[in-house]
């Protein structure tokens, strides 16, 4: 078999070797050179970078070549009597003019690319990017979608307590989503100190300055996930506020925007709508019938010794916060599970129902719980 494998053809072996070597080649080059990126501009920038790089290499080789030659050929041993010359006007003029011409040859294409980068037309989509110590906020101006994007790498990974993941320090809890093939304009500003929004694959780096707006635009044709970083020292966690952009097809983008809008409409409804006790009671009764009645009974009396009574319970009557906590977290060691999978409205309604029924309202504080209380409970507490 092995013989056969080896004998099959040289082609197979070379394919095999190629498969082994290719990640190495790829990895090495990825870690050695600038990214080519995925936009026309980033490609142009890459070409420009390589052009200057090779010009510099050629200059270096020529200059150091002459120098190393004379270090080898003109030592005291080989050349005991030094030459006498100490000026040569033609040569000096030549090595002033020629570099000047080379510089122009570099600066002209660079200026052209720069003009393209500065071409300022409205984007199809405008996203306001705001730098915070130490996270980014994205605000889609046309669609009124807004969210924060935080580093999602676990602290345990940073402090070497668990192995580091593939995207260590390059992952966020919520990515920026943009559609492929559309002109997206970023309006970059900051909330506190100066940050800088860098996405190498788009060749965009713009400082985010409090009180000022800088713009940058891109058109990305290839869907994918692109990662970038903050590049202006902004305090303690400067190294821990990455940028992740997800480029998707237009239809997927539309779905995403729709989803985000629904989320925000829902949230707005929860937090701004003024709920009446009646509305909550009505909803709450239905939920109670489905979820609670099996244990706590329709009468709210529970079953003595097994399921506690809600009617006349001190927590239900007088301790709103603990009441919410029990429904969200459950009770350890008891049959009471967490009901956090219910929506904010459902939770608020069912709690209000228990607080208002069975004479609880008259005997206790009688307060109702509104959906905003549940939203507040879910907010991270710092």
């Amino acid at each position: 078999m092995i013989y056969k494998f080896f004998n099959l053809s040289k082609k197979n072996i070379s394919i095999f070797l190629f498969f082994i070597a290719s990640p190495l080649i790829k990895a090495d080059w990825f870690a050695l050179n600038m990214t080519r990126g995925s936009t026309d501009i980033s490609n142009e920038v890459f070409e420009l970078h390589m052009l200057i790089f090779w010009i510099c290499v050629v200059i270096g080789v020529l200059v150091f070549g002459v120098m190393f030659y004379s270090m080898w050929a003109h030592t005291k041993k080989k050349n005991p009597v030094p030459a006498k010359f100490h000026e040569n006007h033609k040569l000096e003029i030549a090595w002033t003019i020629i570099p000047f011409l080379i510089l122009i040859a570099m600066a002209v294409p660079a200026s052209k690319t720069l003009v393209k980068i500065y071409d300022d037309e409205a984007g199809d989509i405008n996203i306001q990017v705001t730098g915070y110590q130490w996270k980014w906020q994205y605000n889609y101006l046309e669609d009124d979608v807004s969210f924060f994007s935080n580093l999602s790498t676990d602290l345990d990974e940073i402090y070497n307590l668990v192995p580091k993941g593939e995207n260590y320090l390059q992952e966020v809890d919520e990515m920026v989503v943009i559609p492929a093939g559309k002109k997206v304009r970023f309006l970059i500003t900051a909330n506190d100190v100066i940050h800088s929004w860098w996405l190498p694959a788009f060749a965009i780096k713009q400082d985010a300055i409090p009180g000022f707006v800088n713009t940058a635009w891109t058109i990305v044709d290839k869907p994918g996930i692109y990662r970038g970083k903050c590049t202006e020292l902004c305090g303690k966690n400067h190294g821990f506020m990455p940028i992740v952009v997800k480029v998707v097809e237009q239809s997927e983008y539309d779905d995403w925007v729709y989803g985000k809008k629904q989320e925000s409409i829902k949230l707005a409804e929860l937090t701004t709508k003024e709920w009446t006790t009646g509305e909550l009671m009505e909803r709450g009764e239905g939920i109670y019938q489905v979820n609670c009645v099996a244990c706590h009974q329709t009468s709210g009396e529970g079953i003595t010794g097994i399921f506690p009574a809600l009617a006349g319970s001190d927590v239900v009557m007088n301790n709103k916060d603990r009441n919410i906590e029990i429904l969200m977290e459950g009770v350890q060691g008891a049959a009471m599970n967490s009901f956090s999978y219910l929506s904010e409205v459902e939770l608020a309604a069912v709690i209000t129902y228990t607080r208002q029924s069975w004479g609880n309202a008259e005997k206790g504080d009688g307060e109702i719980v509104i959906p905003k209380d549940i939203v507040d409970y879910k907010e991270p507490k710092i």
Partner: protein, 185 residues
């Protein structure tokens, strides 16, 4: 010391405070430079001018954006996000602002324009950013801007962003005041 040496010394000793002063002179120089070239998207108040008004203007879009600096708790947003305007005509716009706290606060809005080369062509007749805003607890207001985009706006610009960042300067004012009082005493 030789006489010549003394001369050199005096010249150099004079140069030092001059350069120190030059450092400070860069501040107004920079403002003048910005005003002339429109660098940095700064916009200054301008006088009403008949010369700027034309009828053969073109339609462009102004996009308003608002940012709350640091922990500024106020609600602050443009009444309209995008406004179609004609160059060479005065237009008005408003920003909605509400003090959502239960204390009296003072705010200062800071404007910025993008692209920066549009700033020189944006003339503000009136702007809430020229003064401080003091709002009582729960008070709300509509803040006006009156502006004109000159017809000389480069033709490739079809969209201007006018951004305001609102800063809480309540304590800041107190501090400055306290310093002034200290100086007066």
């Amino acid at each position: 010391m030789k006489k010549d040496a003394k001369k050199t010394l005096i010249k150099l000793v004079v140069a030092v405070p001059l350069m120190f002063a030059f450092g400070f002179a860069l501040v107004p120089l920079y403002d003048v430079f910005c005003e002339v070239t429109g660098i940095n998207g700064k916009v200054f108040q301008s006088e009403y001018s008949e010369d700027l008004i034309t009828d053969d203007g073109r339609t462009i879009a102004i996009q308003f954006i608002s940012t709350n600096n640091e922990n500024m708790p106020w609600t602050f947003k443009p009444s309209e996000q995008v406004m179609k305007i004609e160059t060479g005509k005065y237009h008005g716009a408003t920003f909605y602002v509400k003090n959502t706290t239960n204390r009296k606060m003072t705010a200062q809005a800071v404007p910025s324009v993008a692209p920066s080369n549009a700033a020189a062509h944006l003339k503000k007749l009136e702007c809430f950013c020229f003064e401080q805003q003091e709002l009582m607890p729960g008070e709300e207001a509509l803040l006006p801007v009156k502006l004109l985009v000159s017809n000389e706006l480069p033709s490739n610009i079809k969209n201007i962003i006018l951004s305001y960042t609102i800063f809480d300067i309540t304590d800041y004012n107190d501090e400055v005041l306290a310093h002034h009082q200290m100086a007066a005493e």
